[in-house]
């Protein structure tokens, strides 16, 4: 045990003198949280809708008034009237407007005759987010337009009332669990990957290998030292990230303790994985080269930025073995839903099992010679 502690002591003393590692692994995910959170999380506003009214009847005027109400209140879009469709389409193609709503001739006559008239939305679909927002807004508006008061003695249609059991979760809060895991990962990648291989290349490990330390003690020492630094990064993100993202009651002690347990298990799982990947690597360029790739392969499929349900089957297969998935899910349960440990028992079990398997495999693969 004293040999494991010696390895940890050496690493932590170096870390204390040069804490760049933790600063980098904290600041980068925090910046990402804030930038991505606000970049993707906002409600889309101020789109430009061109309206071509080829009808000019009372129903079409009523519809245009509803559009103007949206422009004045929700500000999802504003409207510009066009005399002809060709000019509107030209402006759509040159990016002056985001969509064209065409009210065709005979629209009012069909409405009054009880037919089902069509209006067309021609949109710039190169921006999926804007076009989906425009579609949703106009579809809602048409539903309201079509709403008729029920006649006496007739059956009314069913309507849907949505009740949200948690307070509104802005995107920055949705991103926070993934960001915490990302900061732990960055710390493991630098401490367990880059510094580990650099030390090996500089011959520092040669000093260890000529002592009577066992393989297991060496690996435990490296892993625990790396995990300790990752835990610090994770705890800072849990605390400051929660405050920045506006999580209610961010300093609740009971929840912080539950989060701490998850931070510890996530750190151990990711540092073990990192060590397993790097155990036979000698070239200092390798961890730097695989950093971005690992980040992409592990972070994005984990559900950190988008729901897993939307992924194709091959990507869902990655999520099954990706420790990020379980860590992100666990942090979502604890942070966004304020659940207890029972809700994340499977995540804790997976992370613990993953750590044991990765450590055992790394110990087997570790060469005690040069």
């Amino acid at each position: 045990m004293h040999r494991i502690l010696a390895i940890i002591e050496r690493d932590l003393r170096r870390f204390r003198r040069s804490p760049t590692l933790v600063l980098v692994s904290i600041i980068m995910p925090l910046v990402q949280l804030v930038i991505l959170g606000y970049a993707f999380g906002g409600i889309i506003k101020d789109l430009h809708l061109g309206v071509v009214d080829q009808d000019h009847g009372v129903p079409s005027v009523k519809m245009k008034e509803m559009f103007q109400a949206i422009a004045a209140n929700a500000r999802t879009f504003d409207t510009t009237a066009y005399e002809d469709l060709a000019t509107a389409l030209k402006d759509l193609r040159t990016g002056k407007i985001n969509g064209v709503l065409n009210i065709p001739p005979q629209f009012s006559r069909k409405v009054l005759a009880g037919f089902n008239p069509h209006v067309a939305l021609i949109e710039d679909n190169t921006d999926q987010f804007a076009s989906t927002s425009l579609q949703g807004s106009i579809a809602g508006l048409l539903t309201a337009y079509n709403q008729k008061p029920p006649l006496p003695h007739t059956t009314a249609g069913a309507t849907l009332s949505v009740v949200e059991i948690y307070p509104y979760v802005p995107y920055i809060q949705y991103l926070l669990p993934g960001t915490i895991v990302l900061s732990i990962f960055v710390s493991c990648m630098i401490g367990g990957g880059i510094i580990f291989i650099d030390d090996k290349a500089r011959g520092l490990h040669e000093g260890y290998l000529v002592t009577p330390i066992s393989k297991f003690d060496l690996i435990m020492g490296f892993n625990l030292a790396g995990a300790f630094k990752a835990i610090i990064a994770g705890l800072v993100l849990v605390t400051f990230g929660s405050i920045i993202a506006g999580i209610p009651d961010p300093l609740n002690i009971a929840r912080l303790l539950r989060l701490m347990l998850l931070v510890v298990l996530t750190s151990l799982a990711l540092i073990s994985m990192m060590f397993l990947i790097m155990v036979r690597v000698n070239d200092p360029l390798v961890p730097r080269a695989v950093f971005g790739m690992l980040n992409t392969v592990l972070y994005f499929p984990s559900g950190a930025v988008y729901p897993i349900n939307a992924f194709p089957a091959w990507m869902k297969a990655i999520t099954v073995i990706d420790p990020f998935t379980y860590a992100v899910h666990g942090f979502k349960e604890l942070i966004l839903k304020n659940n207890g440990l029972a809700a994340i028992s499977y995540d804790l079990l997976f992370l613990s099992g993953f750590t044991i398997v990765a450590m055992a495999a790394a110990t087997m693969l570790f060469r005690r010679t040069l």
Binding site: E9, R14, S18, H205, E206, T369
Partner: protein, 327 residues
């Protein structure tokens, strides 16, 4: 019993054998030098003896323990100073020592005393709590030597301990090693490609070239083993045909080697040969461009046994090092 007994040890990397069937023994208290050019196989040999590289065949007994079967017992018996400086720059001298004392399981009550004693011995006690990044190369090497002795090993391996040091630091390291050897009753095995270092430090020298042992004896006996007591190096402005044969006929000359207009003459009597040489040159109308007379050195021994000067060579890659080792 020998402290070190190397038996037919071989290490091959694919088709290339860095060490090829070497055998030798080292007695207790000896300073044993492995001398050879870069790429000769010295570092690979020392890595096999210190359990860092498994031999392809053969073995070595260190303090009676087999490196392939009782590696941990070997590790407890030896102190190793690798060629690369491996002390932590961010830690102080004492912290560097303390970490290794813990790795060797030195009890707490003994640790501090031992560290102070060794830092005193290497003249670094005044820098005990200073970060190593502020140390000069010589100071770092001395610290690493102290670190290698923290667990009181019986046998001390040093791989190129003075490479990269300035002449003053080199001499300081030599003197310190000699003192430590006396005070700690050590057997020392040192690799070097510096002839003067091997000559001054070592009781016996093994000359290694292309992974093979080409000579093994004390520096004095090695020097005595080659023809001639003196070496004359002489160059001429013009050399007529048959001039080398004329030089070989000079009194007391043992051997003449030519390289363009430069001749390397081994002689049993340097002064006499010099006089005769000048006279022969005058009679032949040849002017002497330069002339030097030297006693036999280990360089001559090395050239004699290997047939060439120290030279660079490509090496097989060794895991765990960023740069090719310079053995």
């Amino acid at each position: 019993m020998f402290d070190v007994e190397v038996k037919e040890i071989t290490k091959c990397f694919g088709d290339f054998c860095a060490v090829n069937g070497l055998s030798f023994t080292v007695g207790h208290g000896e300073v044993f030098g492995l001398l050879g050019p870069n790429g000769a196989g010295k570092s690979t040999l020392i890595r096999m003896m210190t359990t860092l590289v498994p031999p392809t065949s053969g073995t070595a007994l260190i303090n009676g323990f087999d490196v392939t079967r009782a590696a941990n017992e070997v590790r407890k018996s030896i102190g190793v100073i690798p060629q690369a400086m491996t002390s932590d720059l961010d830690l102080s001298a004492e912290e560097n020592m303390s970490i290794f004392a813990k790795l060797y399981g030195i009890p707490r009550e003994k640790r501090r005393r031992k560290i102070l004693e060794l830092l005193e011995a290497v003249d670094l006690v005044q820098w005990i709590d200073k970060p190593v990044k502020n140390f000069s190369g010589g100071m770092r090497r001395r610290l690493e030597i102290a670190r290698g002795l923290v667990h009181e090993p019986k046998i001390f391996f040093l791989d190129e301990p003075t490479t990269g040091l300035d002449p003053v630091s080199r001499v300081a390291v030599w003197e310190m090693l000699s003192r430590l050897k006396r005070e700690h009753d050590l057997t020392i095995i040192v690799t070097t490609h510096y002839m003067d270092e091997a000559d001054k430090l070592c009781d016996r020298i093994a000359i290694v070239d292309h992974g093979k042992l080409v000579a093994l004896d004390s520096p004095l006996k090695l020097k005595a083993s080659i023809p001639g007591k003196n070496i004359l190096e002489v160059s001429f402005s013009n050399v007529p045909s048959g001039w080398q044969q004329a030089l070989e006929r000079l009194p007391e000359v043992v051997e003449v080697k030519a390289d363009d207009n430069i001749f390397r003459i081994s002689s049993h009597n340097g002064p006499l040969t010099t006089v005769e040489l000048m006279e022969a040159a005058r009679k032949a109308g040849i002017s002497v461009a330069s002339l030097s007379v030297q006693s036999t050195t280990l360089d001559d021994v090395f050239v004699h046994y290997t047939g060439h000067q120290l030279r660079d060579a490509l090496q097989a890659p060794v895991h765990g090092t960023m740069f090719p080792s310079k053995n």
